[in-house]
Symmetry: C2
């Protein structure tokens, strides 16, 4: 069925760029410019524009076509036929993408349209999930925790190592192990370290080594949180 | 030179097990039992026992041989010829190990012995570093940040997603991206998210979605820390 599908793609940012490349093998892709002129043949319009432009762009598109956007933090729009096609990944134009590893989160306001999106997404990846706008909204909190906050811990750890003349390269292997172990065992089972062991003397020794007050508070709060999570 | 090297390995835990397997191709390896009887031919004794047994075991070993231990958190011992051979990685017996990706941190109390350890370590990995006991001690703080604390953030993120009926599998791809991006760009350049953008409305929206008080404090403190780190 997808063989004859014509897809219009609006936006040529990181997501638009990679979606266009990936879909070209699967369907006939029509890149759409700022004039928003959509070829009549198109069955599906994918709106890959910045979050705060999604609503404005979607309003200007034909009501009789399926219009999906790719922005995780934006709710499904209230067009006649609307949906969401959200690849949860951090794309950059110059990095190759292995779509088979990328989850695609779908939403649509009709079963038919959801089916069409599912069929399309499945050709890119087996990791296809139906998630509501409310679900995506909550998931954004989790994404901040696993991505933005872990990255900040790397920053703090690198700073600490560098202050003490230890090369940060010594940390790369355990950084890479982190997500793999958590995914394999589940993070609750993969937890190690002084806090889960209840090793107060190591915790105290570490706190005494940390000069920065904010980092000391973070160390304490995260250790407490580990202890409390595992002793409920 | 290493061709003729005889190495005694004390301890058959996770580290001892994998070191023995790896060194068998490079040197003649003698596993040593609880009797601590060391074959006279051995030039080097590697002590791979739990942290709190290192001192007791090392005291019982011959003074004229090079004795190294593999415990990151334990200082170099004060034997005549002592050292540290610390692979900074989380080993488990049933998981294959790619030594070329594992950093080995070395210390020795003579240049000759350091040279010998370097020559040996280099046959396992190019990632060989000389780090003092004081440096390793500080590095342990960094390791807790990049490993134990990031894993706990995964736990909290999975809990939040599950509470809202979103499958945790949707997070796997960005979890795996995290360390790769941080290593490639440096974490200070890889930072994204509402806190570094100064996007207070998203931060407030997320705080209002978090039921758990402890997680709310953590979210706030980590967001503040990102803001402060990037606005110094």
């Amino acid at each position: 069925m997808q063989a004859g599908l014509h897809i219009a793609i609006v936006g040529n940012g990181n997501v638009g760029h990679h979606l266009q490349k990936a879909l070209e093998g699967i369907a006939t892709v029509h890149p759409v410019g700022r004039d928003l002129i959509i070829p009549e043949a198109c069955d599906l319009i994918m709106v890959c524009v910045p979050d705060d432009s999604v609503a404005r762009v979607c309003e200007q598109l034909p009501e009789n076509k399926l219009v999906v956007h790719t922005a995780g933090a934006v709710p499904m729009q209230d067009n006649n036929r609307s949906g969401v096609f959200y690849p949860l990944y951090s794309f950059s134009k110059d990095a190759e993408v292995n779509w088979s590893q990328i989850p695609i989160l779908l939403e649509a306001n009709s079963t038919e349209d959801l089916g069409l999106l599912k069929e399309l997404a499945t050709q890119l990846t087996e990791k296809v999930f139906e998630v509501s706008s409310a679900g995506r909204n909550q998931l954004h909190v989790s994404a901040v925790l696993v991505n933005n906050f872990t990255n900040h811990l790397y920053t703090l750890a690198f700073d600490h190592a560098t202050q003490h003349n230890v090369p940060v390269e010594t940390l790369f292997a355990i950084m890479r192990q982190g997500p793999e172990k958590a995914i394999q065992l589940g993070p609750i089972n993969a937890q190690t370290g002084p806090a889960i062991r209840g090793d107060r003397s190591t915790i105290e020794a570490h706190l005494s080594k940390i000069q920065d007050e904010e980092l000391r508070s973070l160390y304490q709060l995260l250790s407490d949180s580990i202890h409390n999570t595992h002793n409920r």
